[in-house]
């Protein structure tokens, strides 16, 4: 047992190291390639040159944001899968992304401004409303959430939010022009101030997540045990939902809807470390960061001379993952 723990800690540290490398790669690679020396100089002896400016004002915030968003979405996905006892739970099926997108578009339409901080706050609220309503529509006390209910409730609310968003964008071409990039889920042009504003919320969410992570395993126990622990489970469930809203909401607020990180990463983590949430949560955090960094670097190179929004990249790799999960579930029956 002791050896096992050691292996897992070493594994986690190894993934942290790979993530750091990817972080460096994200700063160095792009339409303007920047050598490693210049990256170091930009922090140690900043001289105001164009290269150093690119690093400090564009590349560094972008890489940082990719790390925190990837981590938050993945941890949010973990919590959702644990409390719903359903492998398909994740921010995208819970309507969190579309709810946030709708709230952001509506706010920018009515208040006539598309400042990033307005988008951020409205997205946070929209995410909370959508996530909580899908959860309660598909939840029935004492039983795990069945996939059909979850998928149908999530798909219907997603569709509703998507058509409301569509309706607003039609009434106002101006907002369509500014919002279409945000709606695609992109990491470009996010400035560091917004990041700092959202950070405390993410921090609180992450803290709650790590505190409850050791308790999440009780959701996997049998029905009788779970009923005996009734009071405690309710508290953990509430705390988890709060953490999910904070994490996923602020992630959408920062970068727009980026799908499938929250769904796919917990499964990868489970493949690596088994079914214990005490390990799944930290592994997911690191793997989520790594995955989004990689997707973001990839998004710069898929089409020459053009950047694809990273949300498109994750959807293209994530949706087959959903299909694969559906297929596997069938086989295991």
């Amino acid at each position: 047992m002791n050896g096992n723990i050691k292996v897992r800690i070493i594994g986690l540290l190894a993934f942290v190291a790979v993530t750091l490398l990817a972080f460096l790669g994200s700063i160095m690679l792009g339409i303007v390639q920047i050598p490693f020396r210049a990256v170091m100089d930009a922090f140690l002896s900043f001289d105001g040159s164009r290269e150093h400016l690119i690093i400090r004002s564009v590349r560094l915030p972008r890489a940082l944001i990719a790390v925190v968003i990837g981590g938050s979405l993945a941890v949010a996905g973990c919590l959702m899968q644990a409390i719903s006892r359903n492998a398909l739970a994740g921010p995208e099926l819970f309507g969190v992304s579309n709810g946030a997108a709708f709230a952001a578009v509506a706010a920018s339409f009515w208040l006539g401004s598309s400042s990033l901080s307005l988008l951020a706050w409205s997205a946070l609220i929209g995410a909370a409303v959508a996530g909580v309503s899908v959860f309660f529509l598909s939840y029935r006390s004492g039983r795990s959430i069945s996939s059909v209910r979850l998928v149908l409730a999530g798909a219907s609310l997603n569709l509703l939010f998507a058509s409301l968003t569509q309706g607003i964008l039609i009434l106002n071409e101006q907002s369509l022009d500014t919002m279409r990039y945000w709606l695609a889920g992109s990491l470009t042009g996010r400035d560091i101030d917004l990041f700092i504003q959202v950070m405390p919320y993410m921090g609180v969410g992450a803290a709650i997540a790590f505190v409850v992570s050791s308790q999440l395993n009780i959701f996997g126990l049998g029905e009788e045990v779970a009923q005996g622990l009734g009071q405690r489970m309710a508290a953990i469930r509430t705390a988890s939902i709060m953490a999910v809203v904070l994490l996923a909401g602020s992630a959408v607020a920062l970068a727009g809807p980026i799908g499938f990180v929250g769904l796919a990463v917990p499964h990868i983590a489970r493949l690596l470390v088994g079914g214990n949430y005490r390990w799944i949560v930290p592994y997911s955090a690191v793997l989520g960061a790594l995955l989004l960094l990689a997707a973001d670097i990839g998004a710069r190179f898929v089409l020459p001379g053009q950047e694809i929004p990273v949300g498109v990249v994750t959807a293209f790799f994530g949706a087959p993952m959903l299909i694969y999960l559906a297929a596997r579930k069938e086989n295991s029956r």
Binding site: S138, S156, L157, L159, G259, F316
Partner: protein, 335 residues
């Protein structure tokens, strides 16, 4: 065979639905920025009225209302067929990804090939919907056995997600004018539909409707389980494939002309089932008429209630459809 009282009842239901549709069409022709008294509507329609309202009715309102009628029929029929062959009351062209497949194909053509003729659009949408259906079919149906509904729904959700990622990408690269056009189209609007939209759509819906009706007895056999159906001499796989193809055609053609008008394919078959029972020969026309009624009334409400703004019909059907879906979810505790 149907008993004569059941036949009478079926005829009465369909008759009433036809009358309601005619009523909705008349209201459509009357109301709007410029209201027209109903006497004048009929006079103009039958060519005995003056020239006063000719343009408004013949060139603006009539093509729009007739396109809406066909679109509603197409979506409802596609939904009815899908629900029958999957045995899942919650399946609909929207949920399993047909609509988004068609939408991705049409948006792609709209944004990238600006001069593409409208009359070819149903083919493009059919191609997109067909691709989505082919992927879903090959992944969710094993040899000889139907996959479970959950599996099919999930695969559909996955396909929808990929198609909408593609749409999102296309919307970010396109020129804003075309993007705006495409997004109006996607919201499911009947705004500005002309005879150019109606005529290409008509043969698709008519032919496929006739096909489904002639095969309605085989559709009924799907309500039994697959083994009994096979025992009765039904070539299950081939028949199912044919039915999927028809619903792809119906949904694809409808989406091509009016964008994604959601939930019609879900709601209409349900209501038709309540009214007319499960027998397909009655349920199919009833669903088609209810579907067209939903689309027509949504479009009318979108046009009149918030005038001078127009709310796309797809938005209104979503606002009605989501509570309906939630009601179904709440009622069906067993799922």
């Amino acid at each position: 065979m149907m008993s004569s009282s059941a036949k009478l009842r079926a005829l009465a239901i369909i008759g009433i639905l036809i009358v309601l549709n005619i009523g909705a069409i008349t209201l459509h022709l009357m109301l709007g920025e410029r209201s027209i008294p109903w006497m004048d509507v009929f006079r103009t329609l039958f060519g005995t009225g003056g020239e006063e309202y000719r343009f408004t009715i013949h060139e603006l309102r009539l093509p729009r209302v007739l396109t809406g009628l066909l679109v509603g029929c197409g979506l409802a029929l596609a939904g009815t067929v899908l629900q029958a062959i999957t045995g899942n009351p919650l399946a609909s062209p929207g949920v399993i990804g047909l609509n988004s497949g068609a939408a991705a194909a049409v948006v792609g053509v709209m944004v990238l090939v600006p001069a593409f003729p409208m009359r070819m659009m149903p083919w493009v949408a059919f191609g997109g919907a067909f691709l989505a259906a082919a992927v879903m079919y090959s992944l969710s149906w094993r040899r000889g056995t139907a996959g479970s509904p959950v599996r099919m729904l999930l695969i559909g959700v996955g396909i929808s997600a990929m198609a909408s990622a593609l749409i999102t990408y296309l919307l970010t690269v396109g020129h804003i004018f075309r993007v705006s056009q495409a997004s109006i189209w996607m919201a499911g609007s009947l705004y500005g539909r002309t005879w150019d939209h109606f005529w290409p759509l008509l043969p698709w819906i008519l032919i496929l409707f006739a096909m489904v009706l002639t095969m309605s007895r085989r559709l009924d056999l799907f309500l039994l389980d697959a083994q009994s159906a096979a025992g009765l001499g039904l070539r299950v796989e081939l028949t199912r494939f044919l039915f999927i193809l028809t619903s792809v055609g119906l949904a694809g053609a409808a989406v091509a002309m009016a964008g994604t008008i959601g939930f019609v394919g879900l709601m209409a078959p349900h209501m038709a089932g309540h009214l007319a029972g499960a027998r397909s020969i009655v349920k199919l026309p009833a669903a088609a008429l209810i579907g067209s009624l939903i689309v027509l009334l949504s479009d009318l409400a979108g046009r009149v209630v918030f005038a001078p703004y127009e709310i796309p019909a797809g938005l209104i059907t979503a606002i009605i459809g989501v509570p309906y879906m939630i009601y179904l979810l709440m009622r069906r505790r067993a799922i």
